[in-house]
Amino acid sequence: MSKIQLNGRKIELSNKHSIVTLLKKYKIDGKKIAVELNGKIINRNKYKLIYLKNKDKIEIVHFIGGG
């Protein structure tokens, strides 16, 4: 089990999760977002290769309306 921070919220993951499976868990379309892990932007092609560890901080962002 690992405790991570996702978009500022503390969450616990019981299984081993890659970025791809985390996105799936939250029903997020991987094509419409960008991911930053511990302050580093992760290239979309690497989502399935990177597994989340304890204390990781992950930010998932998308586009919203703005001026």
Binding site: R44, F63, G66
Partner: protein
């Protein structure tokens, strides 16, 4: 006559009106207003995905980024580092190199922090971004942004979202006369006539959000802005008459009975 094209960096835009997509009641209204405005580029923001509400509609479902150019902004960023982080994420998300930089300095006036803005512009240009920069209406700083490689310089008309219109025509005119990159008036436009005035001064374009989104009938206002920008541009190209102190009759006095 030479065709009047609006070009920012290597992008040719069909409309000189760029619209923001914030403050609308919902995405349907946003999309309708954008359509009515005739804009070919819209500003958008980068925010955290709401992980608790999985069914929340997405802006991209209503405004197809393949049909309309997305210009990611840095709204809400108060220093160079925050805005760089935001725009790098935006580039990762959509692959867009053209971005709007706005580094705010003060929560009350949303006036740009020009020191941080200059710093961020330098880095973004180095990283290959095409940067449209929201800035104060200071002619020297506007020129400095151009030297640093900004693709367009976007001085404010008055504070963001205030609807106070163009407060300093002299500064804007000086900026326009000195510029070799497009000058786009950004922020503070309150009504369609403000947009016409900006275009008559010789601006290359205007960026409008609140004046359309906050109108009672936003879609109608969007169309009004579309016409206002075209009208102002035509008026600028036509070259207006000289002002006279006294009257000058429109009808010849020769042959008067």
């Amino acid at each position: 006559m030479k065709k009047d094209t609006f070009k920012i960096s290597d992008q040719i835009l069909k409309s000189r009106l760029i619209v923001g997509t914030g403050k609308y009641k919902n995405f349907k209204e946003t999309a309708d207003a954008v359509k009515a405005s005739g804009a070919s580029m819209v500003t958008i923001a980068v925010r955290r995905v709401n992980i608790l509400d999985k069914k929340k509609p997405l802006l991209t479902d209503y405004l197809n980024p393949k049909k309309i150019k997305y210009l990611p902004n840095t709204a809400g960023c108060f220093n160079a580092d925050e805005s760089l982080r935001t725009l790098r994420l935006a580039r990762e998300m959509g692959g867009w190199k053209m971005v709007k930089l706005e580094v705010l300095g003060d929560k009350k006036t949303l006036y740009p922090d020009m020191i941080e803005t200059l710093k961020a512009t330098k880095v973004l240009v180095k990283e290959g971004f095409k940067v449209l920069v929201y800035c104060s209406d200071d002619p020297l700083l506007a020129k400095e942004l151009e030297y640093l490689g900004a693709s367009a310089v976007m001085p404010l008309a008055s504070p963001i979202g205030s609807g106070q219109g163009i407060q300093n025509k002299i500064n804007l005119s000086i900026i326009i006369k000195n510029a070799k990159v497009p000058i786009i008036v950004d922020a503070g436009i309150g009504s369609a006539s403000d947009a016409t005035i900006a275009m008559e001064l010789g601006c290359d374009g205007v960026l409008v959000n609140s004046a359309i989104a906050k109108a009672k009938k936003s879609v109608l206002m969007a169309e009004s802005f579309k016409n206002a920008v075209v009208s102002g541009r035509q008026s600028f190209l036509a070259g207006k008459m000289q002002k006279l102190f006294y009257a000058d009759p429109s009808t010849p006095s020769k042959g008067l009975i």
